[in-house]
Structure formats: structure tokens, C-alpha cells
């Protein structure tokens, strides 16, 4: 039993780190929190400001959101590129692939359908 526990504590799952000391882990969470607050504040500022070129705002918001998700993954979920984390990263990469396909594919197909559809009044006429 104690052997099992030792084994348990020596290995690294994601969501934990190897150090038993509190200091470095605390620092990791504080860094993550600081970066997340900075990015969130920037997002809210950019959304409401007139200082930047208006068409660039959606792009900036998307970029900031992706950056913040990265910060959460690294500092809170501890997904890193370390050798003991390969499986987690591969699963994440596959997940991102599916998410991009679903969202990008839906937007593309629906925009295309919308573009090719007859105007609404013509459809109404055809149904009469």
C-alpha cells in the first residue's frame, strides 16, 4: 500500500506537478491568474473602445480569447509540451481538430447555402 502511494506521488499526471513544495506551484497559479486577468481586461477594453480601427475588433477578440485559453491550459490544467505529457497533448490536438472542423465547416456550409438561396419573397411565391 505504501509502495503504491510512493509510486503514485512520484509520477506526474496532468493537473499536478512534480514538486512537493508549495512555492513554485503557487507562483504558477498566480502567474496564470495575472495573465488571465490582463487578457480579460484587454478583451473588455477592446470591445468597448473607439480607439482602434473597428473592423479589427472581432479579430482582436478572437486572438485574445485563444491566448487566454492557452494560458488556462498551461497554468491551470498543466498541459505542457514535456515528455511525460505527450498523450494529453495528442488528445488535445485531436480535440482542436474536431472543434475547428465543426465550427469552421458549419459556418462555411451555412454561409454558402445562404448565399445560394433565392430571396424569401420568391420562395413564398413558389409555395403558393
Amino acid at each position: 500500500m505504501s509502495d503504491l502511494e510512493l509510486h503514485d506521488r512520484a509520477d506526474v499526471a496532468h493537473g499536478d506537478e512534480k514538486e512537493g513544495r508549495i512555492g513554485p506551484r503557487l507562483l504558477g497559479y498566480v502567474t496564470g491568474l495575472g495573465l488571465a486577468i490582463l487578457l480579460t481586461a484587454t478583451s473588455f477594453f477592446v470591445a468597448g473602445t473607439d480607439l482602434v480601427w473597428q473592423p479589427s475588433i472581432p479579430v482582436a477578440l478572437v486572438v485574445l480569447a485563444i491566448a487566454q485559453m492557452g494560458v488556462h491550459l498551461v497554468f491551470f490544467l498543466h498541459i505542457t509540451t514535456g515528455p511525460d505529457n505527450t498523450n494529453n497533448v495528442m488528445a488535445l490536438a485531436f480535440g482542436i481538430l474536431i472543434v475547428v472542423l465543426v465550427i469552421g465547416g458549419s459556418l462555411w456550409i451555412m454561409a454558402n447555402l445562404n448565399h445560394n438561396m433565392r430571396p424569401m419573397d420568391q420562395i413564398m411565391q413558389m409555395q403558393r
Binding site: 503504491l4 502511494e5 509510486h7 503514485d8 512520484a10 509520477d11 506526474v12 499526471a13 496532468h14 493537473g15 499536478d16 512534480k18 512537493g20 508549495i22 506551484r25 503557487l26 497559479y29 496564470g32 491568474l33 488571465a36 486577468i37 480579460t40 478583451s43 473588455f44 470591445a47 468597448g48 475588433i57 472581432p58 477578440l61 478572437v62 485574445l64 480569447a65 487566454q68 485559453m69 488556462h72 491550459l73 491551470f76 490544467l77 515528455p83 511525460d84 498523450n87 494529453n88 488528445a91 488535445l92 485531436f94 480535440g95 474536431i98 472543434v99 465543426v102 465550427i103 465547416g105 458549419s106 459556418l107 451555412m110
Partner: protein
């Protein structure tokens, strides 16, 4: 390749690589399995996001996002969830050093911030429905309520799980199996925050701009 290089390294390093030591310990397997579940959950959310992105402009003559959303509320919600995620991280540290007192304190803070988030969201929904802008008003509002409501349901389920974890740690201590359950809970709670980042950026901030 790695096997050839391994003897030269110190034992600790080889151990942390987890190579050639038989099956991985249960904590790793559990964390990995739960990570797969979380990714499938994110794939589900991506379907709701796709629906929202397609239907976002279909207001059927009703109000659009810019008229409905109160960004001050959203900022407070975001702050609650972010601080709650941080408090959950503190609870993870306390669980690893097996400190019952600070674990329970951090979990209570996590819980209160989560409840604060939920109550603001509930008020927002109740307000919208009371004004006649419920999910049946337009395709835009159907997609909005489905997406944001689904995230809210996840947070509610997370709070129930959180209370269960507090009780289990209190009653059974930091046993290996309880620690594994708590690892899964922490992953779940942090993943909810990631989804919220997408929600406030895409739904609220982009929606209020148009």
C-alpha cells in the same frame, strides 16, 4: 532509442518518463481518461457554438445582442469564475500537501464564487424571459439560451460535485482514490473556465459590438 539512453540517466528521471515500467499508475490513467471526456465535452460545446454562430443574426425582428447584453454583469461573472478557478488551484495544492483546513477553506471560496456566477446568470435569464425575450422569441435567442444555459448547467453540476468532494475529503481524508476524484474535479472546473472564455468573447463581446 529511449531504452538505450535510459541507463545513463538517473533513476528518478527515467521514472518520471514512465517508460518500461509496466502499466502507468492509476492516477495517470484516471487523469488521461477524464481529459478525453473533457475534450468530448468541448466538442459538444463546439456544436452549440457553431449553431450560435450560424443563427446569431436571425433575430426575427426581435432584439439583438447589443440591445440585450449588460457587459458590466458579464465582467462580474467572468471575475467570479476566474477567481473560483484560482481558488480551485489553491485547493489542489492543499490536497497535495494533505492540509485539511486550507483545502476546505479553498473549496468554500470556490463554491461561493461559483454560486455568485450562477445567481448573476440566473437573474439575467429571468430578466430576459420576463421581458418576453425568452428562448422562443427568435433563433438567435434559442441558440443563446442553449449555449449559455448549457454552460450554466455544467457549473451547477460542478458545484454539486464540489460539495461531494468536500464531504468525502472531510469524512475519508486524503486517500489515494479520493485524491484521484479530486484531480478529476479540478480538471472539470478549470475546463469550465476555458469554455466561459469562449462564451464571453464570442457571445457577449462580439455580440454587443454588432
Amino acid at each position: 532509442m529511449i531504452a538505450a539512453a535510459a541507463p545513463a540517466r538517473d533513476l528518478d528521471h527515467v521514472h518520471s518518463l514512465g517508460e518500461h515500467l509496466g502499466p502507468a499508475p492509476k492516477r495517470i490513467v484516471t487523469g488521461y481518461g477524464f481529459w478525453i471526456f473533457l475534450l468530448s465535452d468541448m466538442v459538444m460545446f463546439s456544436c452549440f457554438f457553431a449553431a450560435y454562430a450560424v443563427l446569431g443574426g436571425q433575430t426575427a425582428g426581435g432584439p439583438n445582442g447589443a440591445e440585450l447584453f449588460n457587459l458590466k454583469n458579464v465582467a462580474v461573472e467572468t471575475g467570479c469564475l476566474l477567481m473560483s478557478s484560482f481558488a480551485c488551484g489553491m485547493a489542489s495544492i492543499a490536497a497535495d500537501v494533505r492540509n485539511q483546513f486550507w483545502f476546505q477553506i479553498a473549496m468554500v471560496v470556490t463554491c461561493l464564487l461559483g454560486l455568485g456566477f450562477l445567481s448573476i446568470e440566473f437573474h439575467e435569464f429571468a430578466d430576459l424571459v420576463a421581458r418576453g425575450d425568452g428562448p422562443s422569441r427568435s433563433a438567435f435567442l434559442s441558440a443563446f439560451f442553449t449555449l449559455v444555459g448549457c454552460h450554466g448547467l455544467h457549473v451547477s453540476a460542478g458545484i454539486l460535485w464540489l460539495l461531494t468532494m468536500m464531504a468525502q475529503v472531510f469524512a475519508k481524508g486524503f486517500r489515494a482514490d479520493i485524491q484521484r476524484r479530486f484531480l478529476c474535479f479540478a480538471l472539470f472546473w478549470h475546463a469550465l473556465d476555458i469554455i466561459w472564455v469562449a462564451v464571453f468573447s464570442v457571445v457577449y463581446l462580439l455580440g454587443s459590438g454588432t
